[in-house]
């Protein structure tokens, strides 16, 4: 994977040096190998901190909302799942495409640092990445699937945008079903489901990270920031007051959520937000035909279109028991 990082880095250098772009949006080194963060590089010199490894889970597409409106062209590196978010943003006219040079980058699944700890690795100093295995701190060999983010375990996405792609190996396919847990929940009784969600959602501290990171959550003014809406702050009076936030958050991205998995990745409380998004996705698929947001930049979304024959709300309980 070192070779891949070098390939991506030389692409970044080449684009800056040739003057094709004036800035590069990528990931920068942190203190440790696992705390990389998104970064805009303005010069070749700054690229010395450029990094592309298994911890580059952050989806860079949302940064383009602001970055593409600035002077000059910007290059951006997009993993397969990020290209869907990118397309969706282009479709919603949030990005100035003429200012963007999109480059697809190979991805064999990104890591969840917690999973290393769960495997008994106390501190992750270095990770040598192979296609199916990783070597931690030069000694412990782990199966790559055991340390992947949930979203990467079920990912079969291919690049759907980008002027060019930097790829050394073809992406290994996944045979997991992303709706498995949704189906399990649907098969539970209402009381069991209520208990499940109460337990999960009451952990929420309303940090709003899930909203802020989401490329589909891109309104300039958000209902949750309106102090008169009474939904702007975390309340501590009842145990389940967060339902409102969560239902509305998921509803506002229904039909536009690309299932990029960023919300679940950033949640400090490990709330499985993807199970809410995927419920909407699975209902949409069943009721209105299969739809993958971000696959293209022109199709109409399922909630901005209709047919005269649509199911009535009373019949549409989308597979729940």
């Amino acid at each position: 994977m070192q070779r891949l990082e070098n390939a991506v880095l030389s692409k970044a250098k080449e684009l800056l040096e040739s003057g094709k772009v004036s800035r590069v949006l990528g990931w920068t080194k942190g203190e440790f190998c696992y705390d990389v963060s998104p970064c805009v590089f303005n010069t070749v010199d700054e690229l010395k901190n450029f990094v592309y490894n298994g911890f580059c889970g952050a989806n860079l597409s949302k940064y383009l909302i602001n970055e593409s409106k600035k002077e000059g062209k910007i290059a951006v590196f997009l993993k397969p799942c990020d290209t869907y978010s990118y397309n969706q943003l282009v479709k919603e006219h949030r990005i100035k495409v003429e200012n963007v040079y999109a480059v697809g980058v190979e991805c064999q699944g990104k890591f969840d640092i917690e999973k290393f700890y769960a495997k008994g690795v106390g501190f992750v100093a270095s990770v040598e990445e192979g296609l199916t295995e990783v070597k931690v701190n030069g000694e412990t060999v782990l199966n790559r699937n055991d340390v992947k983010l949930e979203r990467c375990l079920v990912c079969n996405k291919k690049h759907v945008a980008g002027e060019e792609i930097v790829e050394l190996n073809e992406k290994l396919p996944s045979d997991s079903d992303r709706f498995e847990m949704v189906k399990k929940l649907e098969a539970m009784t209402a009381d069991e489901r209520f208990a499940f969600w109460k337990k999960e959602l009451s952990k929420c501290i309303r940090c709003n990270a899930c909203r802020n990171v989401c490329p589909a959550c891109n309104c300039t003014k958000c209902v949750f920031d309106n102090p008169n809406s009474e939904v702007s702050a975390k309340a501590n009076a009842t145990s389940f007051e967060e339902q409102m936030f969560h239902i509305i958050r998921a509803f506002h991205v229904a039909g536009r959520c690309t299932d990029c998995g960023e919300c679940s990745r950033v949640c400090p409380q490990n709330i499985p937000l993807h199970l809410l998004n995927r419920k909407f996705i699975s209902d949409i698929d069943k009721l209105y035909g299969e739809y993958q947001a971000g696959e293209d930049t022109t199709s109409k979304g399922p909630l901005t279109s209709f047919t005269k024959e649509d199911a009535e709300p009373s019949d549409a309980v989308g597979g729940n028991k």
């Binding site: 109460k198 009076a237 007051e241 509803f251 209105y288 989308g318």
Partner: protein, 146 residues
């Protein structure tokens, strides 16, 4: 407090579109057809004006049931508003169900301006369902209730 709660009648909020269902409710009134007094009507320009947040907000504030009434599909004053309502509410109701919140507490009905009798029947039937279900515990917010 306990005493009061025992006497508490379930509260039902009915969002009615201005052009069909609200007129339907009017007709029910002028035809002297009754519907339960605990149904509180909120008039909206079109059924598609109803944002899912309105529905959750009503529950949070103490409603025990929320019903949304609009023109029959194809008859919306704004031509297509209720087709969007239909999709949105299908997804929202399914999501509420997924969260374990009683599915029967929310309903969509199409009531035209000429259907005073239907309006009264729908409301009586919905109120009956809500009365049987009792108080809404799963979507309430104690801060908002007395």
């Amino acid at each position: 407090m306990q005493e009061i709660n025992k006497e508490r009648k379930p509260l039902i909020v009915a969002f009615c579109c201005n052009w069909c269902s609200y007129a339907g409710a009017d007709l029910a009134g002028s035809s002297r057809l009754s519907y339960p007094a605990n149904v509180k009507i909120i008039r909206v320009p079109c059924s598609c004006r109803v944002n899912p947040l309105f529905i959750l907000k009503a529950f949070q504030r103490g409603a025990d049931g929320v019903i949304l009434c609009g023109c029959h599909p194809g008859d919306c004053h704004y031509t297509t508003g209720n087709y969007y309502t239909r999709r949105r509410m299908s997804l929202l109701f399914s999501m509420l169900d997924y969260l374990g919140i009683e599915r029967e507490r929310t309903r969509v009905e199409w009531v035209s301006a000429a259907e005073g009798a239907k309006f009264s029947n729908v409301m009586n039937d919905f109120a009956k369902t809500i009365n049987e279900l009792g108080e809404n515990k799963r979507l309430e917010d104690l801060r908002c209730k007395d």
